[in-house]
């Protein structure tokens, strides 16, 4: 994948994260109308996570934050490592970390959605 494609993905996901987080915070204050404390009670969270819309929102947020963050870490590590082979190893390791964390993050979303 070209560097410009990766950067465009990162920029786009940055916008997605901003919109998703604004929406996520807005849920507590106006859409649900419970306020932060009430919106974070067990019942409120379970009720929200049973809704397919919120599940999709959190899955998108999880994907966007992980991808955006790991591309950023890759950029930092690329400046410290000059060797082409070591750079490929870094990309591979970060890809594996992405897969593990994405699956790990999906578990509660899917579990609560199924419940």
């Amino acid at each position: 994948m070209k560097e410009s494609t990766l950067r465009l993905i990162q920029y786009t996901l940055g916008i997605v994260i901003t919109i998703a987080i604004i929406f996520h915070l807005q849920i507590f204050t106006s859409l649900i109308g419970l306020g932060y404390v009430q919106g974070l009670t067990w019942e409120a969270v379970v009720s929200r996570m049973s809704n397919a819309f919120y599940d999709a929102l959190y899955a998108i947020l999880l994907f966007a934050v992980l991808t955006h963050g790991l591309i950023g870490i890759r950029n930092i590590l690329y400046e410290l490592v000059m060797d082409a082979f070591k750079r490929r190893v870094i990309t591979l390791v970060l890809l594996i970390i992405f897969i593990i964390l994405f699956i790990y993050g999906l578990v509660p979303i899917v579990a609560a959605g199924g419940g």
Partner: protein, 275 residues
């Protein structure tokens, strides 16, 4: 004429011993004297072993770049009185290998410059190698890259760049600004070729936009802007939104006119002596 004595503290590299050392010289200076003048004075009168590179003495050749009082500057255009200090420190350029004393090794710099193909790339090879006339260009097309063409390759931008200091593979502000200079040139047809070269982590995407390159450029070039414009051009190309540029055509032949212009020369302003 205003005069004073200034202490020059020069950081020098001894290649035989492989170590840095500091030399101090007291130099009598006068208003209008440059740092290069002082270095020449030191070499001629105080220490003939002092080595530095200089040529045109008028900020055209870009040879005398060095760190003066902590900032990359051209020694030939840095007036001693403008520094407002009685102690002046002079060091070789940062982010370069040093050959001796104040002389930086520019091999890597020019290698990176050559890498981005700093010349017009054309498809009409017959015309390119055996030109009949010049390529046409409007003033507006010229202005798109004009400021970037002022680069004299003095290397001050690279000495000021934090990314060049930490990543030796980074192409550097000079090479990247010149990449944009040719991509923006309406006569050039090598944009895609050059984009392939700089669309890498060590190319235009390595820039952190510190802006120090633009701050130190003695010719008013803004390499930080060029790198951002280069990124935009690459992003537009990746999104398939880039305008397909066709290289400028050669200008049409001059029209031969039959009309003869009758011009009256202006009158002499000095009385002509009779022979």
């Amino acid at each position: 004429m205003e005069r004073k004595e200034v202490l020059f503290r020069i950081k020098r590299w001894n290649p035989e011993k492989g170590e840095w050392f500091i030399s101090e010289f007291k130099v009598p200076v006068y208003r209008g004297m440059t740092v290069l003048d002082a270095l020449i004075y030191i070499k001629e009168n105080l220490d003939p072993s002092l080595s530095f590179r200089a040529s045109c003495r008028m900020a055209i050749c870009g040879s005398c770049g060095m760190i003066i009082n902590g900032k990359p500057r051209l020694a030939c255009e840095t007036q001693i009185f403008h520094l407002n200090s009685n102690v002046i420190t002079v060091e070789p350029l940062r982010n370069y290998l040093i050959i001796k004393d104040l002389i930086a090794d520019f091999d890597e710099f020019y290698e990176k410059y050559r890498y981005i193909k700093p010349y017009l790339i054309r498809r009409d090879e017959d015309e390119y190698w055996d030109p009949t006339r010049e390529y046409s260009q409007t003033p507006e097309e010229h202005e798109r890259y004009l400021q970037f063409s002022y680069c004299i390759s003095c290397g001050l931008c690279v000495a000021a760049c934090p990314t060049s200091g930490t990543n030796r593979r980074y192409l550097g502000p000079q090479a990247l600004a010149n990449t944009y200079r040719f991509i923006a040139d309406s006569r050039d047809e090598g944009a895609l070729e050059r984009i392939e070269l700089v669309d890498t982590p060590d190319g235009c995407w390595g820039c952190h936009l510190a802006g120090s390159c633009s701050d130190v450029c003695p010719k008013g070039v803004d390499p930080a802007l060029a790198i951002q414009l280069l990124r935009r051009a690459i992003a537009m190309k990746s999104l398939g939104m880039a305008e397909v540029k066709k290289g400028a055509k050669v200008v049409p032949p001059l029209q031969v006119t039959e009309k003869k212009v009758k011009a009256t020369p202006p009158p002499f302003t000095v009385e002509q002596k009779q022979a």
